[in-house]
Symmetry: C2
Subunit: 363 residues, 2 copies
């Protein structure tokens, strides 16, 4: 049997630096744990635009459809701000999500014990926090038509369309219920059903799907109240399911609240392929951080943990994922810190590769 295949898309900014550390860790799993991958690497985002004039080449797109999992660094940077909307770095990422049909975006918001004091929230509000936000990723206002800037009378009008079909809501709701079954059996669905008809349909379909999961305690919350409650007492949640746009804001807020932004991975999953594995793309929640790119200051942990999620969700290697997560926890407990995590007295930062060394050491 051939090795499972990984497509690595480092992207822009700190993407290549953090991905270099992940590649070392992938190699370690091949050497030491008998988990060899066929790894290929390609361009996405501004890097792809610079070479091909498009943020995602068709060949790369085709390759992403074939492999067992895609690992992405980050896209974007000020250099590309002037580009037309249609070729901005983000379009490369959005095309991957859409064409691979990665409808369920899993964003854990976890507070690492050793880092609880980095949160702007009080320690008792965040210590031990471990929630999972399931964000719909291939529909809603990100992709709905009509869209664009049109002329009307003598002025321009900007238009976007929020659009959700029953089946789109159904499938992401099922992903969320499945996750809830494996976790605390508590799911909170967020929308604005008091203002938006798409939110009414969302609530109805989620409620309907819930009948197949009688063990899961389902609740509904308006997204504005959800934002509030995340800020007030995030531990009231276990799994949250929400649409593409609300998920974008709420998961970023939740990630920041943990104080562990540079640490948080994500998985974007689609339907099973012929080999039974889901279509999948893994990426850190943080962005391309152009201000610190190329200086060896970036924290590779979010990207490393994205690979751990790949081990768990694409390759059914939950125990190996835990091994890697434990190594990260150990390194943090030992006080190893990249520059983004400074603040404690007398701690000297390690570089991006220094953190990679430490994680490999702990493995």
């Amino acid at each position: 049997m051939s090795n499972p295949s990984l497509l690595i898309l480092p992207g822009d900014g700190i993407g290549p630096e953090v991905m270099a550390e992940v590649r070392r860790i992938i190699d370690w799993f091949g050497d030491k744990r008998g988990l060899a991958f066929d790894v290929s690497e390609d361009l996405v985002g501004g890097a792809a635009y610079d070479k091909h004039g498009t943020p995602l080449h068709d060949d790369t797109m085709a390759r992403a459809q074939e492999v067992d999992a895609v690992l992405l660094g980050a896209v974007g940077g000020p250099k590309y701000d002037v580009l037309d909307f249609s070729v901005k770095p983000e379009r490369g990422l959005l095309r991957l999500r859409k064409e691979m049909d990665l409808y369920a975006n899993l964003r854990p918001a976890q507070c690492f014990d050793a880092l609880a004091d980095f949160s702007s929230l009080k320690r008792d509000v965040v210590a031990g926090l471990d929630i999972m936000i399931v964000r719909e990723l291939t529909s809603g206002i990100y992709f709905g038509e009509p869209r664009g800037i049109i002329e009307e009378g003598n002025e321009r009008v900007g238009i976007n369309t929020q659009r959700y079909t029953e089946s789109e809501i159904d499938r992401v709701a099922r992903s969320a219920f499945e996750l809830a079954m494996k976790r605390g059996k508590k799911l909170c669905s967020m929308e604005k059903a008091n203002v938006m008809e798409s939110g009414i349909l969302w609530r109805e379909v989620v409620t309907e799907v819930g009948k197949d999961y009688p063990e899961v305690e389902l609740s509904h919350m308006y997204a504005d109240a959800g934002a509030m409650q995340l800020c007030r007492w995030p531990k009231q949640f276990d799994v949250i399911v929400t649409d593409n746009l609300f998920g974008d804001l709420l998961s970023d807020a939740a990630a920041m609240l943990t104080g562990s932004l540079g640490m948080l991975p994500s998985a974007s999953l689609g339907a099973p392929m012929a080999n039974g594995r889901p279509k999948a793309l893994y990426e850190p929640v943080h962005g391309s951080a152009p201000d610190i790119a190329g200086q060896g200051k970036a924290n590779p942990i979010a990207c490393v943990l994205s690979f751990a999620m790949a081990l768990r969700y694409s390759f059914d290697q939950g125990a190996e994922a835990e091994r890697l997560e434990a190594a990260v926890n150990k390194v943090l407990a030992d006080g190893v810190r990249t520059a983004d995590l400074l603040g404690e007295e007398g701690v000297q930062p390690v570089s991006t590769s220094g953190m990679g060394d430490a994680i490999l050491g702990a493995l």
Copy 2:
């Protein structure tokens, strides 16, 4: 000259209780400061539905258009969850906003010194916080057409439309720049221009308006990053301007972060009327809190401070507004607390009217 007119719409849940205290304060300004108002009262939300079968009677709408300012309590409650979308309590409020064309929603997020410890954030992150979120309130996805739930193939599709014209963006941007000029001369505009064309137009128009305010330092942030930054270090902001939906989430998150949710007022302003006063509606940021309604537990301060905003923005009585705000601050500094603000050792809560007494005493 006749007295300025006020229409009071207590609404649902705790609305009537908190508004009763505001009426006493309005009377005080009439008796003691020679600021008499012609006050009328009417129904909105579920209360209006119960009587008229509609969350806002046409006569009430007409009256709201005539008066100098509207003061609203809160709308909604579980009793009305089963109602059809078109007659839900919220539709009454949304109709007022839309037909009065109240495009600029001013939401201060302020941390009261005496309450800094109520925040889930660390004291130094919130103490002294004072930012102003200007939310567009009459357009965007709240009102865009087409909208609804349609049949397509053999399933239902939920649709809403985000729609912004240049002039809609222009006018709310001007309100925000004007406010920034009176405050810290710093304005941050938030959208998702990396994903939504309506966000691109938003950014362009705000930038264009900014040329008329060269003294104001203008910045732009994606709304997801904005949510993060509000959670991380809210004091980096002075005035924020954003669209209707983002404003809904971001202002609620910001309000919660202050720890002073029961304290925060809002003003919704439109174009000047014939008498030079803007069309205006004032309401607390908190909701109708049906769980504590009718028990004398509600905190009337947000509603009281909404009246202070009315004094300032509708009646040009900045000094009287400050008098009222100072009275509230004094009461808080004296340790007077409603039930929502407990937590300090040995403090006994006062009732809604007890807080009203205390504020009147301080005046």
